[in-house]
């Protein structure tokens, strides 16, 4: 499978008056064509900042990509000028966000917001852009698309707005769709609709998805591969059908065991003690050490590296240090 996105050693730091916050700290990530990969982590893990780095939308002033490469096929996005990056955004890579209620411009009609992106990237005239917009709205499930394009966002529910966002993101047939917590703000029944839609669309359009989420359930609905982040670093990477049965990293394992299930077989939830370390005072050794139940001396002194365990799995933990790398 050809690789579409290849991130190497990405470091996105925030420079504050007193300290430097390493929001993303040396992330390597590969995404193949047509593949859906989930980036999982709790708040502050750096997953959202990774996605904004790919889009070149790291908040400024303060945030900056200090190191690393982000290769989209054979272009290094970190080296593109702002003007060139504008040609990539919305066309090659598009993004949908967590808050559908605030992500659409309240004073422009749905049609206007769809049409502008189509005319901008595809150089078509307005009339055909309008036609395309209606077609897209129908694809994402609006039966009254002709009416919807004249409506303003506040007339639509959260689920409908997220559909509009998806239509907008898919309008230029992007190679990569970054979905940052696309269903977190939605009710479960609406979430199910949106997940269904995303699943069908990416098949149809052959688009790769980078799914950013904290919800392990959503991950297993959509993704083929899971990457777990903790405190700015990737701690584990695994195929979807292995990670829940056999998590390697103690953090991943804790995360999975912390979530109550719908079948209710667990009597008492596992809980990871403590809190995520504050990003301005990270420990010297393993960043998870203070919360880990398998911690030993070396973890406090030395930083573990992300290590391949098999060709589909890797983990950042000393417990697996003596494993032979399997090629």
């Amino acid at each position: 499978m050809a690789s579409l996105l290849n991130i190497e050693n990405l470091k996105t730091y925030f420079f504050q008056k007193k300290h430097v916050v390493p929001a993303v700290d040396g992330v390597d990530l590969k995404l193949n064509k047509g593949e859906t990969v989930a980036l999982v982590g709790e708040s502050g893990s750096g997953k959202s900042m990774t996605s904004l780095s790919i889009m070149g939308l790291v908040p400024k002033p303060g945030g900056e990509i200090v190191d690393g490469k982000i290769m989209l096929e054979d272009i290094n996005l970190t080296e593109l000028s702002e003007d060139d990056m504008c040609k990539v955004r919305g066309k090659e890579i598009s993004m949908i966000f967590q808050e559908p209620m605030t992500s659409l411009n309240p004073v422009l009609t749905i049609g206007e917001q769809l049409v502008e992106v189509i005319t901008y990237h595809q150089g078509v005239n307005r009339a055909s852009a309008v036609e395309k917009a209606i077609e897209l709205l129908q694809i994402v499930g609006f039966s009254r698309a002709e009416e919807i394009i004249r409506d303003y966002p506040h007339r639509l529910s959260g689920g409908m707005r997220q559909r509009v966002m998806i239509a907008m993101a898919m309008s230029c047939n992007p190679k990569l769709l970054i979905a940052d917590e696309p269903t977190t703000a939605l009710d479960v029944t609406i979430q199910a609709q949106i997940l269904e839609l995303l699943k069908n669309l990416t098949k149809e359009f052959d688009t790769s998805i980078l799914l950013i989420t904290h919800d392990l359930g959503v991950v297993s609905e959509l993704a083929e591969r899971v990457i777990v982040m903790y405190a700015g670093e990737i701690v584990e990477e695994a195929p979807i059908d292995e990670i829940f049965d056999e998590p390697y990293h103690p953090y991943t394992e804790g995360l999975i065991k912390s979530v109550p299930t719908l079948t209710g077989e667990i009597e008492r939830l596992y809980s990871i003690k403590g809190n995520v370390p504050s990003p301005d005072s990270l420990p010297k050794g393993c960043r998870f050490a203070s919360r880990c139940n398998k911690v030993f001396g070396r973890c406090l002194e030395e930083k573990p590296q992300l290590k391949s365990i098999s060709n589909s799995r890797s983990v950042r933990c000393f417990l697996y240090d003596d494993e032979e790398e399997v090629e």
């Binding site: 998590p247 390697y248 809980s271 417990l319």
Partner: protein, 308 residues
């Protein structure tokens, strides 16, 4: 390939405290944080320093002033700045610098006292309207609407003309007709705060209404109130000087920055004594500017949404 044991034991104690709290010497109250933030704002700090100097000069005017503000030397009218009269003299030969110092007393007194009144009335009306809502709120807000519909200066001019100008009248009139902005602000704060969860929590605990208002809601609304008070002082000083300039404020011979300028409108003064209108105006400008800087700095420092 054998992997090490990955079983996680189940006996996590729930009473394990979250361990990641930074150890600090002293708990930092929000006031302390606001103070630190304020001190980092250069404009605000310089504004505060200038204000302290001006206030000091007003308080110690009798010690600092080289002359009595009312001492007339008719042979030395409209003298340019000199060692004897650092800012020159006026059309009656009085020392401008001394008169400015005493004028500061008037301006600052009117500013502080009137604003104390404005804030008291505005906070009470706003708090009552915002906490109780309903019909009380509607009535109070309609009264506010009516007062706000008048251009302030028209009300002030009319009232003062009707009531005879004096320091006391000025203060009372300002207090009675400038509280509306504060009332709206406080009402808005109360409306949002009263539905906040910590206020609901206080209600479920059974805290009395009065205590909820004064101990839970008001302290959290105090930031915007302080900011508006600071800005209001500047506004009142400006309005007072305007009225005095029009001849409706503090009456001569008592010096005030505004009435000093009233005398300076004369064509020949403008032609031959440019320094005379300059200094009172600059004093007003600097004072108001300082209050605005401080107010702006306080707004940033007291706004909990602005971190860093």
């Amino acid at each position: 390939m054998t992997l090490p044991e990955k079983d996680i034991s189940k006996n996590q104690t729930i009473t394990s405290p979250d361990i990641n709290l930074e150890v600090k010497q002293k708990p930092e109250s929000l006031w302390r944080i606001a103070f630190d933030k304020f001190m980092k704002n250069k404009l605000a700090v310089s504004g505060a320093v200038v204000l302290i100097i001006i206030i000091g000069m007003a308080i110690f005017a009798p010690l600092i002033a080289p002359h009595s503000p009312e001492e007339q030397v008719l042979t030395n009218r409209l003298a340019p700045p000199s060692a004897e009269h650092p800012l020159g003299t006026d059309e009656l030969g009085r020392d401008t610098f001394s008169r400015l110092l005493y004028g500061a007393r008037v301006s600052l007194t009117v500013g502080f006292v009137a604003v104390a009144g404005i804030i008291s009335i505005g906070t009470i009306v706003g708090a009552v309207a915002g906490y109780f809502g309903g019909i009380i709120d509607s009535i109070l807000m309609r009264v506010v609407d009516v007062i706000i519909a008048f251009p302030q200066i028209f009300l002030l001019i009319t009232l003062i003309a009707v009531l005879e100008p004096s320091l006391g009248t000025l203060i009372v009139v300002f207090a009675l007709f400038s509280w509306t902005g504060t009332a709206r602000l406080v009402r808005g704060e109360f409306l949002t705060l009263r539905t906040r969860e910590f206020v609901l929590a206080a209600r479920t605990i059974g805290i009395r209404k009065g205590k909820i208002i004064f101990s839970h809601i008001l302290p959290n609304a105090i930031g915007p109130i302080i900011v508006t008070a600071t800005l209001q002082i500047g506004y009142v000083i400006l309005a007072e000087s305007t009225l005095s300039y029009l001849g409706l404020g503090v009456q001569p011979p008592t010096p005030s920055w505004g009435n000093m300028l009233q005398a300076a409108q004369d064509f020949s003064i403008m032609l031959y004594a440019w320094w005379y209108p300059l200094f009172p105006g600059l004093m007003i400008l600097i004072t108001i500017l300082s209050f605005n800087f401080v107010g702006d700095g306080l707004r940033d420092a007291l706004d909990p949404k602005r971190k860093n």
